[in-house]
Symmetry: C2
């Protein structure tokens, strides 16, 4: 088996992955039944087992017992009924309800499976679940409880509020935003330095100079002000990239947008095939240098020599540790 993207994506694709695992176990359980002469679908086990244990029950009761959806129970029942294993009768006193019960054939089959297969399946499944990581059943139960207590959707919203209270949004580059890229860059460069030829080349042709060479440009925006900042990852040569043109409009300072943008730009870098990431700046940019240091960049004067002449204003160089470029 090759590299498994899901394994690398952390919890994002956990749903998909769990589902595949579950489907695999169900299919195997079905095959085991077939191999021992019981041509049943795995989905039918739980209803059969419940009927055996609790006796006849209405559809609604089965829904509660199985903790499944009502149409799901109805469907399972229909398949069992078609096999002649269950029956559906009216309930005296409430013509809406119908009671599911095992036919004699159904009872016979359940009893047989209960003694001749299920113990072995249970043992085999326990086998797979066994390990140093705790009991799967209790873990699944806990996850179900957690979801009951607060849905994943609610948790996502809560986490967003908590991790990003300012409501900042990352906006990927598109040509319509070229003007913002240029404006924001001009604003801070002209405020402290003067635009150099390299600056002009980049802000006038961002697609050619950055994107088409495998680089990325991100923007940060707020609900009220729109695009307020930008940052680029530019390929210098090979797998070596420069973090450049990071800037936030003066009118939007104080919203921690720079910190947020830098963090997300580094996250972006981690998903790119990148061996080295460095930046060039000037010692006058104290606030920016502080951000870089906080994000993990380290001063590295050797880069200055390699990059001599790129920018007249460059007198500080920093690099991001290669180890941190590897995805968590």
């Amino acid at each position: 088996m090759s590299i498994d993207i899901l394994e690398m994506s952390g919890h994002l694709a956990l749903g998909s992955r769990l589902k595949r695992l579950a489907e695999r176990m169900q299919a195997d359980a079905g095959r085991a039944h077939a191999a021992m002469g019981f041509p049943m679908q795995p989905s039918q086990f739980s209803l059969l087992s419940a009927l055996d244990r609790f006796g006849p029950m209405t559809v609604s009761e089965a829904v509660d017992r199985l903790n499944a959806s009502q149409p799901g129970v109805t469907r399972i029942h229909n398949s069992l009924k078609a096999l002649g294993l269950t029956r559906l009768d009216g309930v005296p006193g409430d013509k809406r309800s119908k009671r599911i019960s095992l036919t004699p054939e159904g009872q016979k089959l359940v009893t047989s499976m209960k003694h001749n297969i299920w113990p072995y399946i249970d043992a085999a499944a326990a086998d797979i679940c066994a390990g140093p990581d705790g009991d799967v059943l209790s873990l699944v139960a806990r996850m179900e409880e957690a979801l009951d207590a607060q849905s994943l959707e609610d948790r996502v919203m809560a986490r967003r509020q908590e991790m990003n209270p300012g409501g900042l949004t990352i906006v990927p580059y598109e040509d319509a935003l070229a003007a913002d890229f240029a404006d924001i860059t001009k604003e801070w460069v002209e405020d402290m330095f003067t635009l150099e030829p390299e600056d002009l080349a980049i802000i006038e042709h961002p697609r050619e100079r950055i994107l088409d060479r495998g680089g990325r440009i991100l923007f940060v925006a707020t609900e009220d002000l729109g695009i307020i900042g930008t940052c680029a990852l530019m390929r210098v040569e090979g797998d070596s990239f420069e973090l450049t043109k990071m800037g936030v409009r003066a009118a939007a300072r104080g919203r921690r947008a720079g910190e947020f943008l830098l963090e997300r730009t580094l996250a972006e870098a981690r998903t790119m095939p990148m061996a080295e990431l460095f930046l060039l700046t000037n010692r006058k940019c104290e606030a920016a240098i502080h951000l870089y240091e906080k994000a993990g960049f380290e001063h590295d004067a050797s880069i200055l020599e390699r990059s001599a002449g790129r920018y007249g204003r460059a007198d500080v160089a920093m690099s991001y540790p290669a180890a941190r470029l590897k995805r968590a």
Copy 2:
């Protein structure tokens, strides 16, 4: 939420349960995306994420990367293609392969989701997974590995071989087996005692005297000899049951069939609404009494008084601890 049958069925229905949990998480993830303005299907995330991280790849490469089935990948891709997010191009040099790549719109969307939603979903999912039971991701990974190493189906067969080396089978009662029930009982009763009126009533009308009153009759069979033993659970009154008519043909001794049958009969009892389980026997039946003791029955002379007159031969009474009647 009421009693959850799956929670009680141990590992048997783990597949079903895992699947429901997974479906719930996926649906929630989808809703979270919709709520934040990204109308995507959760199944599409993994392919989008893989394309973003690894760049264009053929269908086969995606199958490896996502660890999913090829038709699954094709379907996900088709849905993305329909949204204009991906493209499928031929691969020069091999006209069989086709390469999936992100369109500019697709790249833009992925970048946006990667920074504006996925971190929060990941955090929320990690939240649900967090707990004292260990890390869910590593647990799932371990289960996947275990299944890779040996399928559940193979494990089931191995467990059966190991837990039941004699190849004994439990056969539920049906009227066609009434003669076996009577023969086996006559064989041992007449060998050591004489048939009493109560014996005759039961073996001549097992359905009326046992099954119709909520009791059960089990048989044990082997491949070569067919039905070789039987055992019944008979309702005496209310929730009080008697274990009775347990016997194995003399011709089939030495296969541990009695032990197996008794164990499974007790398992059967645990799935019945039963408050008390006792048995009556005679001190001459030393082997049987030894089995009963080994299975957990305890001597209880008080039962003899309550049951006075039922059987002339009864001079030993035993009861099964009520606590052990509760399902594990």
